[in-house]
Subunit: 307 residues, 2 copies
Amino acid sequence: MRRNDLNIALLAGGVGGARAARAIAAGIRPENLTVIANVGDDEEIYGLHISPDIDSIVYTLAGLEGPAGWGRKGDTFEAMDALTELGVDSTFRLGDRDLALNLHRTLRLREGEMLSTVTASIAKELGIETVILPATNDRVPTMVEIESGEISFQDYFVLRQAQPDIKALRFSGAEQASPAPGVRAAIESSDIVVIAPSNPPLSIWPILAIGGMAESLEAAETVVAISPLVGGKPVKGPTDRVMTNLGFEVSHAGVAACYEGLLSPMIVDANPPEADPPAGLEAIVADTMMNTPETGTAFGEWFATLW
Amino acid sequence: MRRNDLNIALLAGGVGGARAARAIAAGIRPENLTVIANVGDDEEIYGLHISPDIDSIVYTLAGLEGPAGWGRKGDTFEAMDALTELGVDSTFRLGDRDLALNLHRTLRLREGEMLSTVTASIAKELGIETVILPATNDRVPTMVEIESGEISFQDYFVLRQAQPDIKALRFSGAEQASPAPGVRAAIESSDIVVIAPSNPPLSIWPILAIGGMAESLEAAETVVAISPLVGGKPVKGPTDRVMTNLGFEVSHAGVAACYEGLLSPMIVDANPPEADPPAGLEAIVADTMMNTPETGTAFGEWFATLW
């Protein structure tokens, strides 16, 4: 059963964000969901403007996502093999079909279009009804400080496979950046703002750091976070290590602390059922696994009945 | 038998140019051949700098060429299919591996490298010993005037499949352009300059139109053209139609007229054996088919014994 009357804005990044978008879109009218995507991971690779978080959301909502949650299902890697043959470091693997999307986006951006316009057009071509907005059209690259100095996000995440300890994060240009057209309106006019079960520091903080975003969230009626921890661990990715590095407890309370002052209720997984509910914050216990379309639909339909 | 002491500069464009490069490289030491490639066909497509003639030469010399003489053997077209899915007109088909080469070139050009440097590096990575030089590092797009107005070369050649009648050709920017580093030296210091059996107006004229090229060719001791006509017709492509459109007879004499004043001897095919040898020009009769590596080697070895 869908709730046709509910409007939701979702702050999302990474695979957790894409899966939450799919889940929530299954519980309401898809076009009543606006996904506000992290663009701190965006980078120039092979001369292409890559937007990994937007693309995970696009591919997942189009049913085209790769098995690991990024890239395209069944994609081939002929172009990467050819780059290797030409002596190019192709550690950052883009499938051939994925490459085409990146090429198309890059060309349109070079022609002067905004990232939000290009994203909307790609989503439309792929039959997606949910609104997908980059958090900003400006460049706000997340810079990761590790022992040896500051590196780019993709250097940290892909080339070094998220192995180095993080000493600090810098959301370069974020304060001066403006939310993309429609972002503030979606946050301020939705019935609920949801923070996806993404990596809080890596995927959500870069969104929150954008100029004016904090004010918009304060104006929102209800902001609810879905904790990315299940059984005390992240479903996917280095969330636990990153949180520990940055001085947060790996717990629902630690997640809540990452969003200090923002949340009304919080959704926490039933496993373990009563592990550290965040102090002073209503915790709604649920089965938060949404890694498949089926578990996602179950979560989304349940979630929509809460409000 | 190779002639180890002979240095040749080859003016080349199109598939005929690539096959002539392979043939002649088989008759001498490959590194003693300098191929000077037409770049009038270069264009920006999908935001990529394509250099079709350079790439035909590169792929053919690396033994990677597609069956029609362009693109890569066994290449896949996943990226093109994905572009189509995104609503992009992908009539200009670039295979996935070919796309990677174009992406690599484009990035390096954007970073400020010269086309000649990038080309040399690509050739080296693919194990090519022959020197491949773009005729110029400048932009000299061939513009094609047809009934409806002036269009780009790729619009004429690929999108309209070389069907429209040509009223005139314009080698935009050619006069102001400079030959790429090494081009003049190769022409002036080689024992022979060969004009490949390419389309004279479309593939060779854009090279000849570059500033200083005429002077270099006048300084060359021997300039020999291989006629692209076999049995009175071009082996491949619209050479006959283009020559007719521009007022040239489709004959060896017509080809010689396209290079008026430049040639010493001319190589003409034995089929038909005595068809219209160009007036006042020594015609050396041979089997000029070089469409396979085997026929190419036969031609190249014979050719090298001539001098």
